[in-house]
C-alpha cells in the first residue's frame, strides 16, 4: 500500500514520472523426487514506443543493446532461450517457462519490414554477438514459419505468419559465456538483488539449466489504451538430489547457489522470493526456516498453488544476521506428484543407414476430457520424410488430424515443416509416426565429428489444457511474474507448451580421405588405358628374324678370327 504513494512523491520530485519499472522474483519448488526447481524472473517494463519516427535513444533500466536491436530490426516480439539438459515433465511437472534443449529463437517482425529473410539473417548475427552464441548458424535450412503454433504472446492479433521466423539449434552448448552477457542486461547486473545467486560454477552443475530473454509489448491497463515494452529475463534450473545435494533431502540457498541473499536490487520496485508449499500445507512434508507468515495464492498452470513469500525489500526478511539463507528440510519422502495432464516423448526407430521412422507419443492423462493439441515438427532436409507414411493413431484407432500444414523440404534450402491439429482422447496415448530416408551429404557439408550424429530439433506441442480451477483472465492485474507469462483468454483452460526430446540421427558418413584416393585411382586407370593406347599407336611393328643359335654364333666368332665369311 505504501508503494504507490511513494511513486507519487517521486513524480512530484522529478516532474517527470519514471517511465520504467523493474521487478525481480525467484520461485523455488521442492520436487517430490528430492530435486529442487528454481526459477528466476526479471522483468523490465518501459512505456515507450520503439517504432516512433524519432528513434528512442535514452535508456535507463532497459538495456541499450536490446533496445537498439528492437528499433533497428523492427521487432514486434522476440523470444530467445538457451538450454542445457532436458526438462523431465513426468518427474518435475510443468516448468513456468518451457524451452527446448539447445538454442531456440522466434521472432515476430512488424509488418513494416519488407525483406523479412534478410532482416532475420542480420538479426541472428547481431544476437549471436550479443549472447556469444552460435546463432549465426541459423540460416534458411533450419528456419521455418509456423502457421499456427507460435502466436504472439504480447498484444496484437497478427495472423500473417510471413512475419514470423522460428529456428532451433539443438546442438548448441550453453555455458558461462552465454550467462555473462545475459547478466549484463540486468540493471543491477550480478552485483545486487536475486542475480547474485547466479554463479555459473553452481548453475551449470545442475541437471537442467535454461536462460531466456523474452521481449514483447503488453497492455498498461485493462482497457489497453497504451502499451509498454516488456523485457523478461528468466533462468530456470533444477538441482539434482544426488549430484548437487549429496543425496541429502535438505536444500538451502547456499547449497544451491553457494551464495545467500543480503539485499534486493535497489532499482527493483518489487523483489520477492516464493516457495511453493502447496503439497505441504501443515508442514508435514518439509519445513522452512526462517519461517514466514506471508502466504500468497496464485493460479498457475491450471492449479491453485500456495506460496510462502519473502519480500526482500523489507529489512526484517534478512533478520539479525542481515542475510537470508533459506533452508528446506524434508521430513518424509512420501507423497505422489500429480501426474501432468499432457506430456510427450519422441524417438527414432529403424535400423541401418538408409531409412528410419520417427515416433512421437503424446499422452493425455485427463480422466474424462479430450482436448486438441498442435504438433509442430521441423525436420532438416537431410532426413527425407515420406509424408504418405504419416499415421496418427490413438487407442489403436486411426485419429485423423483436423488440420495439417505441411511444407516439403528443399535440398540445402529449407527444412520440412509439419504442423497438425490433433484431438487427444481422454486417458490415451496418441502416436504419430512418419518414415524417412537418410540423404547423402556432399563431403564438405559434414560438420566436425560427423559420427556423433545429426541433431533434429524438438517437436513443439502447444495446447489449451482444461483447467480444474478457474484461470485468471485479467492480464493487467498485479500478479506474481511466474503466473503471468502466457496470456490467458478463457477461464476454463490454460496454455501449455511442451518440447519433446531432440533426436540424434546417424547419417551415412564417408571416409573423408576418399576424394584423394578416388582422384589417384581414376588417374591411374586413365594413365594405364592411355599408356597402352599410346603404345599401340606410336610403336612400329616389324617381323623379327629368329635369333641364331648359340653354337652358330660361336662358330661365326671362330670363323671371323680365321677370316672366313660367317655362316
Amino acid at each position: 500500500m505504501a508503494e504507490p504513494k511513494f511513486r507519487v512523491c517521486l513524480c512530484m520530485f522529478w516532474a517527470v514520472c519514471p517511465k520504467d519499472d523493474f521487478q525481480e522474483e525467484l520461485v523455488i519448488r521442492p520436487l517430490h523426487s528430492g530435486d529442487i526447481y528454481a526459477s528466476f524472473q526479471f522483468r523490465t517494463l518501459w512505456d515507450t514506443d520503439f517504432m516512433r519516427e524519432n528513434k528512442v535513444s535514452h535508456y535507463r533500466l532497459f538495456p541499450k543493446s536490446l533496445g537498439q536491436v528492437i528499433s533497428k530490426f523492427s521487432v514486434r516480439e522476440l523470444h530467445i532461450s538457451f538450454t542445457q539438459g532436458y526438462w523431465r515433465t513426468m518427474q518435475w511437472g510443468q516448468p513456468f517457462i518451457p524451452s527446448p534443449p539447445g538454442a531456440e529463437l522466434w521472432v515476430w517482425f512488424q509488418d513494416s519490414v519488407t525483406d523479412v529473410d534478410a532482416t532475420w539473417k542480420e538479426l541472428t548475427n547481431v544476437l549471436s554477438g550479443i549472447f556469444c552464441a552460435s546463432l549465426n548458424f541459423i540460416d534458411s535450412t533450419n528456419t521455418v514459419q509456423p502457421s499456427a503454433s507460435f502466436k504472439p504472446l504480447g498484444i496484437g492479433n497478427v495472423t500473417d505468419h510471413s512475419f514470423l521466423r522460428y529456428a532451433t539449434l539443438p546442438r548448441e552448448i550453453v555455458c558461462t559465456e552465454n550467462l555473462t552477457p545475459w547478466k549484463k542486461l540486468l540493471p543491477c547486473g550480478s552485483k545486487a538483488g536475486l542475480a547474485v545467486l547466479l554463479k555459473s560454477e553452481k548453475l551449470f552443475h545442475s541437471s537442467f539449466h535454461s536462460q531466456a530473454v523474452h521481449i514483447r509489448s503488453v497492455c498498461q491497463d485493462w482497457q489497453c489504451k497504451t502499451t509498454s515494452w516488456e523485457l523478461r529475463q528468466t533462468v530456470n534450473s533444477v538441482f539434482d538430489l544426488h549430484n548437487s545435494g549429496q543425496a541429502k533431502r535438505e536444500w538451502s540457498l547456499f547449497k544451491m547457489f553457494s551464495r545467500t541473499l543480503t539485499e534486493a536490487c535497489p532499482l527493483a520496485s518489487s523483489s520477492k522470493l516464493y516457495i511453493d508449499i502447496t503439497d505441504n500445507p501443515q508442514g508435514e512434508q518439509f519445513e522452512l526456516s526462517p519461517a514466514t507468515s506471508l502466504l500468497s495464492q496464485a493460479v498457475v498452470l491450471g492449479d491453485r498453488r500456495t506460496f510462502s513469500v519473502y519480500d526482500l525489500t523489507q529489512e526484517t526478511t534478512f533478520g539479525s544476521v542481515r542475510s537470508l539463507n533459506l533452508l528446506i528440510r524434508w521430513k518424509s519422502n512420501e507423497g505422489e506428484m500429480l501426474r501432468p495432464l499432457l506430456h510427450a516423448e519422441r524417438y527414432v526407430a529403424g535400423y541401418g543407414l538408409q531409412t528410419g521412422e520417427i515416433h512421437t507419443l503424446m499422452y493425455n492423462n485427463h480422466p474424462y476430457r479430450s482436448f486438441p493439441v498442435l504438433l509442430l515438427d521441423s525436420v532438416p532436409w537431410y532426413l527425407r520424410l515420406y509424408i504418405h507414411t504419416l499415421s496418427v493413431t490413438s487407442k489403436g484407432k486411426d485419429n485423423k488430424p483436423s488440420y495439417i500444414h505441411y511444407e516439403p523440404s528443399k535440398d540445402r534450402v529449407k527444412p520440412h515443416l509439419l504442423e497438425m491439429l490433433i484431438q487427444l482422447p481422454p486417458n490415451s496415448v496418441t502416436e504419430v509416426t512418419v518414415q524417412f530416408e537418410r540423404a547423402l551429404l556432399k563431403w564438405t557439408e559434414y560438420p566436425p565429428d560427423p559420427n556423433h550424429g545429426f541433431y533434429v530439433g524438438s517437436s513443439v506441442i502447444s495446447s489449451l489444457v482444461p483447467s480444474t480451477v478457474a484461470m485468471d483472465t485479467n492480464s493487467t492485474r498485479e500478479r506474481p511474474l511466474f503466473s503471468s507469462f502466457f496470456p490467458c483468454k478463457e477461464e476454463s483452460s490454460y496454455f501449455v507448451r511442451i518440447y519433446t526430446e531432440p533426436l540424434l540421427v546417424n547419417l551415412p558418413t564417408p571416409d573423408f580421405s576418399m576424394p584423394y584416393n578416388v582422384i589417384c585411382l581414376t588417374c591411374t586407370v586413365v594413365a594405364v588405358g592411355y599408356g597402352s593406347l599410346y603404345n599401340l599407336l606410336t610403336r612400329s611393328f616389324q617381323i623379327e628374324e629368329p635369333n641364331p643359335g648359340l653354337a652358330k654364333r660361336i662358330a661365326n666368332v671362330i670363323r671371323k678370327m680365321r677370316g672366313v665369311p660367317p655362316l
Partner: protein
Amino acid sequence: MAITEVERRRGQLAALSIAAVVIIVGVPLWWRTTETYRAWLPVSQIKDLAKLQLHLSADVEVVFALDGDLLVQFIILRLQNMKPARYETKYRTATIMEEDALKKPTAAEADLSLHMLSESPCGSLVVYVIPESSSLLPEDVNVYIGQRRTALVRISAQMRVGKTLEQLLAQLEPRIKQVLQVMSFSHTDITVALSDRVRFRPGNKESIADSMRAFKSSPGYEITFSLLNPDPKSHQLHWDIEGAVQTYIQPLLTKLSPLANFSIDSQTLYYTMLGVTPRFDSSLEAYTLNADSLAHVINPVEARLGSNAASSNPVLNFLLYVPDIRHSPLYIHDHRKQEVPSNAFHSPRWGGIMVYNVNGFYGSETEFPVHVNINMAKVMGVFLAQLRLLLGVQSLSPPPGFLVAPCGSTGLADWELDRLMWSRSVENIATATTTITSLAQLLDQIGNIVINDNIAQQVSSAVTSLQLAMAELEVGNLGFALQYSKEAILASEKAFFDPSLLHLLYFPDDQKFAIYIPLFLPMCVPILLSMLKIVSEVRPLKVQIGL
C-alpha cells in the same frame, strides 16, 4: 625395309599428333577450367593515384574598403607577384552595400550584415581591408575573424602613407597569410590528415598528441552518453539528457552534418566501478585520482558499456561518473598534482569521462537514497569541449592582434567547419587511396584471389570518385570534394572487405601438385620420351644431309 620405314614414320606421326592434340586442346582446356576469374581493374589509374599528388586551392577574395585613388590602380594591376601557392586570390573594391555594412557600429554586426549580403561558398574566404579610421575594431586589434567566412583586416596609417602599390601589397601580404593560416587549411593540418600515408615527424610532442586525439574520418559516428551510478542505494540520480542533448549537442551536430551522420543515445549503468581505487588525500579531505592512473580507469567500465548492436561506426563515449558515497568527493589531479578544474579527462579516440561529485547533497540527517538532479549545463559544457576535441575541431590560439569572434549557439564557426572539411576530405582521399592501392597490390601478388565483377565495379567507382574528389579540391569546391571522398571511402572499403575475395585464398601449390601428378606424370612422360626419340632421330638425318 620400306615397310619398317613406313611403320616408323606412322609411329612418329601418331606421337606428334597426340602431342599436338595435348598442346592444342588439352593444355588450353586445363588452363580454362582451372583458371580463377579475375575481372579487369584500372591498375594504371590506381598507380597514378598512389602518388597522391594533391592540389588544394581555396578562393580568397580580398576586398578593399579604403578610400582614395590608389585602389583603382590596384584593380587594374591585379598584381601577380603576390601569389600564395595554394590560394586563388582575387582583389576587388567593396560594393556600396558592403561599404554600408562595414559602417555598422560593431564588428559582429558588420560580420552578420556582410553575411546577409552574399553567402560565400564552402571553403572560400573573404578578407575585407578596412582603413585605420574605422571604428569597427578595438584599439589593439588589427584582425577580426568573424563567425562566418569573413575577416576584417585593418591597415595601419604608416602603411598607407605615400607608398607605391607594390610596397603596400608587400606589407599586406604577411597579414593576409596569417589570416588564411587561421581560417583555412594550414600545412600542419594537411600533414596530420595524411599521417596514415606519409610518415611525418612532428616538431613537438604537442602536435603528436593533437593528431592522435581526434577520431579518424568515418561516414558516421555514434555518440553515447552514459551515466555511471556505482551506488544506486545511496544516490538516486536524474539527468535530463534528452533536453540537454537538444540544447547543447544537437546544434553542433546539425552544423557538422555535412561531415558525417551522427546518432546519439544515452544509458544509465548501475554498479559500475572504476578500475582504480582512488587514494584518500587527508589534506583535501577528498579522494583523488592521479593522472597516471587514469589510463586504467576505462577498461573495467568499457566491458559494461556494450557495443552498438545496430551499426559499425566508431563510438564516442562520454561517461558521467558519480562516485559512491564511500569515495566521495573525488577529484582528478593532473601531472603537477593540481586539481583539474573541470574534474574531467578525455581519452584519445575513445571519449571522455567526467566525475560529478554529489557530496554537497549529504546533510547531517539525510535519508538515503539522496535524490540528485544533475546540473546538465555544467556537464554538457565539459562534454561539448571534449566532443570538439575528439572531432578534430582544434581551437588554436590566434596570433597577437587577432580577435576571434566567439562562436554562437551552434558552437562552431563556418570557417572552423571549413577547416575540418579540408582536413577530412584530404584524410578520406588518403585513406581511400591507401585501401585501393593495397587491394590492388594484394590482388597482384596473390594470383589465387577471385576478382568478381562487383568488386571490379566497386574499385572503379572508388577510383572515379577519388579522381573527382581530387579534381574538385583542385578547383576549390570543398563541398563536392568531401562528398566524393566519402563515396570513395565507402566503395573502397566495400571492395576491400568483400568476403568473396577469401574463397579460394587457401589453395596451396603442394596440394595442387598432389592432385595433378597422378594424372599428368603417366600422360606426359611417354609423350616427352617419344618426342626426344623423334628429335634424336631427326638430328643425325640432318647431319647426314648437311654432309
